[in-house]
């Protein structure tokens, strides 16, 4: 097979040894994946079908397709083609976190896995925030970067992109982190020479984080407690409504009215068609449902570990859920004598059942990496959800079409349909199978092929999967 390095793999020489762990990419071209089991997700499985890819798009899919004369025919007998997997809430490819912090986080992890961690899940505040005088109220717009767009800070050579792609992920909905109003997410494809090439949708929603905290005596700036944060978010959305109104009135009567001040925080909020609200525990889920209703937000809940308790309430509210694949664990190095409440134990035990509960209740949900970047870990977590009652169909949907639908990009990605972007993953068996290997990954019609797996004990970031699936 003729293979060459794609531009994305033009890594500085110092990193050359790492390149051996990479997928090798083929230019966009015309391919026919012949005689494959095609899991379209949008329709029934085609047991013996062909998928034709041309110029980055899916040209045809079906049982009786004759490969075009100019196509590179890939015999997929015994292989299964899925739509490319989507991480529905990600930091992959995002350079939001200062490089120093990323390096420290990576160094803190063991073995090779750490080497591919580009952005730690807990973002450190940027220096600009920590040196600023403490905020005195909502008017200071504390911890707000709502105008930031992930699309504007994509780092195409982020190792997390490649690692994820090795595992069959072709898209991610990636977000800036580190603030209450963290900024706007973008749907990106996990391959491309330039950041701009990777972006599918640049502003799909505002990512909100809600730091917990009982609060205290002051001095550290507003908001300093959970209720302060909630009140702040409420005030921002009220201000945004007022801002729109004030601007429209002012436009009609610029003479004789004081002009409304330009406010980038509100501009960012207004430019966000969706709002991601954190909701992991039952009480948080119900709280955020009520908050979304009160503020009339087009909300998406994320977290969801305790959604097995509140699935019906979520269904009733009609909100989609992004379900974390990082299940709660006992805190490392915690006091072994610490007796944990039944409630905490129960949450930990049942978190993997959340997906099945949401599926049963008819809630639209998608999985997300929650700071993890090793597909092996992610798929192991999905497997846990399947073992806990989620249907395999539901699992693949939660990794593909559901995410695309939640973010309004299902006309382009998420399933294998004519005209959609050619994001595909080809494996030698069921994608959740323990021994399944990814054979090819197509991103935007470009073919990537995992290199043979290194022997055990090799460096991290191994190509392909070794059994985590």
């Amino acid at each position: 097979m003729k293979q060459k390095f794609a531009g994305i793999l033009l890594i500085p020489l110092a990193l050359a040894p790492l390149a051996t762990t990479s997928l090798q990419a083929q230019d966009r071209g015309t391919y026919a994946l012949k005689d494959a089991r095609v899991v379209r997700v949008s329709g029934p499985v085609i047991e013996h079908g062909t998928v034709v890819v041309r110029d980055g798009l899916i040209e045809a899919v079906g049982a009786n397709i004759t490969p075009p004369a100019d196509a590179w025919v890939i015999d997929c007998k015994g292989l299964t083609v899925y739509p490319g997997l989507i991480d529905s809430l990600s930091t992959w490819g995002n350079t939001n976190t200062p490089p120093a912090a990323a390096a420290a986080a990576a160094g803190g992890r063991g073995g090779g896995r750490g080497a591919v961690v580009a952005t730690p899940v807990v973002a450190t505040p940027t220096p600009a925030v920590s040196t600023a005088p403490p905020s005195r109220g909502p008017e200071d717009r504390p911890s707000t970067a709502s105008w930031l767009k992930a699309a504007d800070q994509i780092f195409p050579t982020d190792r997390a992109i490649e690692t994820a792609r090795n595992g069959g992920f072709t898209s991610a909905v990636t977000f800036p982190t580190g603030n209450i109003f963290a900024g706007q997410g973008s749907v990106i494809d996990l391959a491309g020479d330039r950041a701009g090439d990777m972006v599918l949708a640049d502003a799909i929603g505002q990512y909100i984080t809600i730091p917990s905290g009982r609060g205290g005596g002051g001095g550290r700036g507003y908001p300093g407690s959970l209720m302060g944060v909630i009140a702040y978010i409420r005030q921002i959305y009220m201000d945004a409504e007022h801002y729109k109104l004030a601007k429209s009135i002012y436009e009609k009567h610029p003479d004789g009215l004081q002009r409304p001040a330009y406010d980038r925080a509100l501009e960012g909020v207004i430019a966000s068609p969706r709002v991601l609200l954190p909701a992991t525990r039952d009480v948080e889920i119900l709280r955020m449902i009520a908050f979304a209703k009160e503020m009339k937000l087009n909300a998406i809940l994320y977290g969801g570990h305790e959604a097995w308790r509140s699935a019906d309430a979520i269904k009733k509210a009609g909100l989609p859920v992004l379900l974390s694949l990082k299940y709660p664990e006992r805190v490392a190095d915690s006091d072994p004598a610490l007796e944990e409440p039944l409630r905490v134990l129960e949450l930990r035990d049942k978190a993997p059942t959340a997906a099945a509960a949401l599926e049963k209740a008819g809630v639209k949900f998608a999985f997300y990496s929650d700071g993890q970047s090793t597909p092996r870990d992610l798929m192991a977590a999905v497997k846990k959800a399947v073992d806990a009652g989620l249907t395999p169909d539901g699992a693949i949907k939660a990794l593909t079409l559901n995410a695309a639908e939640i973010y309004g990009v299902s006309n382009r990605v998420g399933s294998i349909d004519k005209g959609k972007i050619a994001n595909l993953v080809v494996s030698d068996g069921d994608i959740f199978g323990v021994r399944t290997r990814v054979k090819y990954v197509f991103v935007d019609g470009g073919k990537y092929e995992p290199l043979p797996e290194e022997p055990a004990g090799g460096r991290g970031g191994r190509a392909g999967r070794s059994g985590g699936f």
Binding site: P134, G137, G219, V283
Partner: protein, 451 residues
């Protein structure tokens, strides 16, 4: 931990509580009505309300009949000052935090709710903390263990706001680095003078905000183009205070600061609904009474800081005798479980009658919170928030046996004790299943990339 079984039981039952609860008839009991003397006889709870009280009440068909011989029935205890079930207490980053509200952070799974029930508390006023001069919005709740946060709220109760005077709000401004102060970042005020100034300035702002709303309306009426003022959650709450639509619950200790706040309120034309803690209230009872404020104090908890030194156990009794509407509160999850015994102390210190003493934790806090039409005494038509004791509630040897709220039973001592072995087994199984596997730490509560 008493949770999972109860959560399971109550989640199911709470939803259908009102429809499915059968009438309950307690017979042969000593019924302390608080407002209408003591009745030896029966009390009937039906459809969430007290349906009958009397020597003889016929059991309606299907009623659950409880023999109350030798037992006492009284209204559910009301705690006018608590911080349980709140996931945040203080927005102390600013001196005026009236934009925040406890109702946003209620956690209906706080085990303190269930324990409060076991101590006979059925209603509690959940307050913001005292870190700043004007704190956050407060919310009145019922201890409907197993219900959602929304269903915990005492429907229709007047909203409130916390004020705080003295050491707590001023210590974050202390250059001596007082408790809670960040020396590099001191927060005004640092003195009692400053606390007064903060409150006055806040109400000046609130009045200006109110005026700006009026000015906008006037412009609109004249047909002039105008941009409405932006809604300001901080000032909105204070305008509600000015308009008498939100109660002020003011944390205080010393007589001078109490008088100060009365003057400020008079100047700005609003009322203080209750002085909380108010340990020196006995010195200014007349002034408190004249302002029309209530007092919500401790029986004998003091000396934990300088401003709480000059306290006496007769405080509540003196306030009562001077005509101040007085209650005893807990401000603490543990103290909350024996407010009945706190009330008993006022019989010894100050010579209150038993009914007066029990009023301090029932009808009086109900009046302070303006929910006395619904709760606080045993009267036909009021909410069936009822306690069954195994002895006189003021006795140290008596325990709460059963607790009903809205006619639904939320606590039963026998059931609790009987259920413990089962819960212990359940917990043991989960603990073993979740034996530490080592590895990475779980972040737990917030799910996503967080600050």
């Amino acid at each position: 931990m008493k949770r999972s079984v109860f959560i399971a039981l109550l989640l199911a039952s709470a939803l259908s509580a009102f429809a499915a609860d059968v009438p309950v008839l307690i017979q042969n009991a000593t019924i302390l009505t608080i407002t209408n003397g003591t009745v030896k006889g029966s009390i009937l709870l039906r459809n969430g309300k007290i349906a009958a009280i009397g020597d003889k009440v016929l059991a309606p068909p299907g009623a659950k009949v409880i023999d109350g011989a030798g037992k006492f029935v009284m209204p559910g205890i009301i705690d006018c000052h608590s911080h349980i079930m709140a996931e945040a207490i203080n927005e102390g980053s600013v001196s005026v935090s009236s934009m925040v509200g406890i109702e946003d952070v209620l956690n209906p799974e706080d085990i303190a709710i269930y324990r409060a029930l076991a101590g006979g508390v059925t209603t509690a006023n959940i307050l913001h903390g005292s870190a700043n001069s004007i704190g956050g919005k407060t919310v009145v709740t019922k201890m409907r263990w197993g219900a959602t946060a929304e269903a915990m709220k005492f429907e229709g109760a007047m909203p409130g706001i916390k004020f705080a005077l003295g050491e707590n709000p001023k210590r974050a401004g202390s250059s001596q680095g007082g408790f809670g102060a960040v020396p590099t970042n001191l927060r005004y005020p640092a003195t009692r003078m400053g606390v007064e100034d903060v409150i006055r300035e806040a109400f000046n702002d609130a009045k200006a905000y109110k005026a700006s709303l009026a000015a906008y309306q006037a412009k609109l009426a004249k047909g002039e183009p105008a941009i409405p003022p932006a809604r300001d959650l901080k000032l909105e709450a204070l305008v509600e205070v000015l308009d008498g639509k939100r109660f002020v619950h003011a944390h205080c200790y010393r007589q001078d600061e109490i008088l100060m706040l009365i003057h400020v309120a008079d100047d700005y034309g609003f009322k203080i609904r209750t002085f909380q803690h108010v340990l020196e209230g006995y010195k200014v009872a007349k002034e408190i009474q004249a302002h029309g404020a209530g007092a919500s104090t401790f029986s004998d908890w003091w000396a934990y800081k300088m401003e709480a030194q000059d306290a006496i156990p007769y405080n509540a009794a003196i306030l009562v005798k001077k005509g101040v509407l007085t209650s005893l509160n807990s401000d603490d999850a543990e103290l909350m479980r024996h407010l009945d015994k706190e009330a008993a102390k006022t019989v010894k210190y100050g010579g209150l009658t038993e009914t007066e003493a029990l009023s301090l934790v029932t009808i009086n806090p109900a009046k302070q919170l303006a929910i006395d039409k619904r709760v606080g005494s045993l009267e036909v038509g009021k909410d069936a928030d009822v306690l069954l004791y195994d002895g006189h509630p003021l006795s140290n040897f008596s325990k709460v046996e059963k607790v009903w709220i809205d006619g639904h039973q939320y606590f039963d001592r026998d059931e609790d004790e009987a259920g413990r072995p089962k819960k212990a087994i359940e917990k043991k199984a989960l603990t073993e299943k979740a034996a530490p596997a080592g590895g990475r730490g779980g972040q737990g509560s917030t799910g996503g990339p967080n600050q």
